[in-house]
């Protein structure tokens, strides 16, 4: 056993309201610079939709991630042979138009335009050339456009859904969508690291954050191709690639990353997971169907005596072990088994997990006769003359799983490499928690029914309370359990304190010497 610690995340998709606050927080701190305008280290996309960059999930186009062929796992579009022979021209590199051309508006024209008969306008201009442009695409232009021909219908996750299944999804009355916020997954088997010919990208041993050394990056651009999530971006101005850094300066100071801190829906959780690095190699070589199990098996129980002993032997700090024991991520991923990684079939072992969405998927539309109700209303009240009811009742719980508005297959394509049972399992649990709470708060569910449902979902009442608490009530320090960076060690990350002893002044990285 080779126990290491990883700062990992859970995003609870039922709670995301698609407000993009996270994206803007990140942009303001990190990517508000020339060459980085088009980068959204954090982005939120609507599903079904094509995402950002357009159709990133389609590895037939972008050739990202790992693939297993004849028992060997290799990078699909990069690697030693392909990377070095394609170094002069990378045939699988997305170009800026696959994302969008960054733009701004000439706001000053609104104020400075000379007096005339026409209203002044702020024309859009390209942030690359400065010329006026016709904006064709933006980072979130598939927002809420479920059912649209250009976006939703081109979603790569539809590959194995039949025409009819898709049509059913897009019927106007039944149409549904949900949001998918994405950041770098800080993978355990990062394709970006493996693809970098310069060796500029590395995973930090202490917390698993994947970083690009800007001094060593030489713009060979292989990471952009290799990352199947397209979370490594090429800065066209500096000629260096950049990616999400999980706000490591904030984490080291005990603060939550900016996207998580600012999240309006409070969907984000961050905590430590202990994992067994010695099993990674064999895990990534397993079959698609078993990949998730192997992935989750890597994560170790932080309460297990042996794990603790091995962790200590490996130099994992006591405070980190403690953080792992309180980790909300551990609870969601292992204890309650509620969260899944995004596209595990890319084989990078992503360490950002998602609780699959239940609400937009489960609610059914029922045709009802609402004449009676209408008659009771005040005649001046506005009332809509349609008979559709957005039904979130739970009477038909298990029955409705098969009538859900999203085919299970669609979500399974995203979160479980096609395993529908896994998604069903999560949905059952989420529903069971709701029924359990409904018994407590509304009281129209019998104890017998609620207990039955919990049992069927494999949760105890206590666990259901835990899920409820962490989902609905959790405070800041419950959602973000950040292991202390150890100030004394953090200083030593930069300098050996012994060297600095007896020196003068502040802010010098080089030795202070007397002039000659």
């Amino acid at each position: 056993m080779d126990v290491r610690s990883q700062v990992s995340m859970v995003f609870h998709l039922d709670k995301c309201i698609g407000c993009h606050t996270c994206s803007v927080a990140c942009k303001n701190i990190w990517t508000d610079r020339k060459g980085a305008e088009y980068m959204w280290w954090n982005n939120v996309e609507t599903k079904p939709g094509t995402g950002y960059p357009t159709k990133w999930e389609d590895q037939g186009i972008y050739k990202g991630g790992w693939e297993k062929r004849n028992g060997k796992v290799t990078l699909k579009g990069a690697g030693k042979r392909r990377g070095l022979t394609n170094i002069f021209y990378n045939p699988n590199l997305p170009v800026i138009d696959d994302y969008y051309e960054p733009f701004t508006y000439k706001y000053l024209d609104l104020i400075e335009a000379p007096e005339s008969d026409d209203q002044p306008t702020a024309r859009p201009v390209s942030l690359i050339t400065g010329d006026p442009i016709d904006i064709k695409m933006g980072p979130n232009w598939d927002d809420d456009l479920s059912g649209s021909p250009d976006f939703a219908r081109n979603d790569p996750n539809f590959q194995n859904l039949s025409e009819t299944e898709q049509e059913v999804m897009f019927q106007l009355e039944k149409m549904a969508f949900f949001y998918l916020p994405r950041i770098c997954n800080h993978c355990l088997n990062p394709a970006c690291v493996a693809s970098c010919p310069s060796g500029a990208i590395y995973k930090r041993g202490e917390d698993g954050v994947v970083l690009i050394n800007q001094d060593v990056c030489r713009a060979w651009r292989m990471c952009v191709t290799a990352c199947p999530y397209k979370k490594s971006y090429y800065n066209w101005h500096t000629g260096k690639s950049e990616k999400c850094i999980l706000c490591f300066p904030r984490i080291e100071a005990g603060l939550a990353p900016a996207c998580m801190h600012s999240c309006v829906g409070r969907i984000r959780y961050l905590g430590v997971l202990l994992y067994d690095a010695s099993k990674i190699e064999s895990a990534i070589h397993d079959d698609d169907s078993n990949l998730i199990n192997r992935h989750l098996d890597l994560i170790l129980d932080p309460f297990d005596e042996e794990v603790i002993r091995e962790a200590k032997k490996n130099g994992v700090a006591d405070s980190t072990i403690h953080a792992a024991q309180n980790s909300p991520v551990y609870k969601y991923v292992k204890e309650w088994n509620l969260a899944l990684p995004l596209h595990p079939e890319f084989r990078t072992l992503p360490m950002l997990f998602y609780v699959p969405p239940l609400l937009p998927v489960m609610a059914t539309l029922k045709q009802v006769d609402n004449k009676e109700q209408a008659a009771k209303m005040n005649p001046i009240a506005k009332y809509w003359d349609d008979n559709w009811l957005y039904d979130t009742s739970t009477a038909e719980l298990w029955g409705s799983l098969d009538q859900v508005r999203f085919p299970l297959k669609y979500l399974a394509n995203m979160f479980s490499a096609g395993d529908e049972e896994l998604i069903k399992d999560k949905w059952k649990k989420l529903m069971a928690v709701r029924i359990h709470r409904r018994r407590a708060t509304v009281g129209d569910v019998s104890d017998q029914k609620a207990d039955e449902v919990l049992k069927d979902a494999g949760l105890t009442a206590e666990q259901a309370e835990g899920v409820f608490y962490l989902t609905a009530l959790a405070k800041f320090e419950d959602r973000f359990v950040i292991p202390p960076a150890h100030r004394e060690q953090a200083i030593e990350m930069m300098d050996f304190t012994g060297d600095a002893k007896g020196e003068i002044g502040f802010g010098f990285k080089s030795k202070i010497r007397r002039g000659i």
Partner: protein, 242 residues
């Protein structure tokens, strides 16, 4: 004439090599952030193929050819002793030279006709393009008009270059050569001098080490296992990045 020769074939080479050495080391050690191939494929990814690929593969072969003739002149002469082999060598070199020229012209046109690229192009890029085009064209001209270059390079130029590197410059062979050959030599040294001051520097950081390195890289600030052990001498506890 004497001065002219001494300047271009003795002074220039030494200045160029000194600039190259000092400049490259300085830039590599002190300006890591500015060391990049500055790829523009992200802004224009279609026409680049017809420029970058033929140019770079051409350079790889032609440069290797020059290097081999310089390092092993006798072997090259021995190889060339049979006309068929000489022809193979010359034609290969010429074809890749043409490939370079085509690539360069494509790159040049691409760079100055794509609006977006104007914003990632500086004056040095223009100088580099013009020098490389001149150099490639002169090389092809020489190869075509003064046959067979691979042989006389080995017998005339290799000794001259050796004399430079041995610090006993002997220009007797170069001053006899026709002016296009001399131009080719002079431009070569100018290009070498400009390497640390232009994007050409990226050829020094070709990532060969990728071949030997394991795919995944995990970096620790220090070896925590050792740090935690009481037996570890204190000198080992120093962080490695210091």
């Amino acid at each position: 004439m004497e001065i002219f020769n001494d300047f271009f074939f003795i002074a220039l080479p030494y200045v160029a090599l000194a600039m190259f050495l000092v400049g490259s080391i300085y830039r590599y050690t002190k300006k890591g952030f500015q060391l990049s191939s500055l790829s523009s494929q992200f802004l224009e990814g279609r026409r680049l193929f017809y420029g970058s690929a033929p140019f770079h593969w051409g350079v790889v072969v032609v440069f290797t050819g020059h290097l081999i003739s310089f390092l092993f002149p006798r072997s090259v002469l021995a190889w060339n002793s049979q006309p068929v082999r000489l022809m193979i060598l010359e034609i290969t070199g010429f074809v890749f030279g043409i490939s370079m020229l085509i690539g360069l012209v494509n790159l040049f046109i691409r760079r100055y006709t794509t609006p977006r690229l104007r914003f990632v192009t500086n004056k040095m890029d223009m100088i580099v393009y013009l020098l490389l085009i001149t150099q490639t064209f002169a090389g092809l001209w020489v190869a075509y008009n003064f046959r067979w270059g691979s042989s006389w390079f080995s017998s005339l130029l290799a000794p001259y270059l050796y004399s430079i590197f041995m610090f006993e410059p002997d220009t007797s062979s170069v001053i006899m050569l026709p002016w296009p050959v001399q131009l080719h030599i002079i431009t070569a040294f100018v290009i070498i001098a400009l390497i640390p001051f232009s994007r050409l520097i990226h050829f020094l950081v070709v990532p060969f080490h990728y071949i030997w390195r394991p795919y995944q890289q995990v970096r620790w600030y220090w070896n925590r296992r050792e740090v935690r052990s009481a037996d570890t001498p204190w000198t080992l506890q120093r962080p490695k990045n210091n």
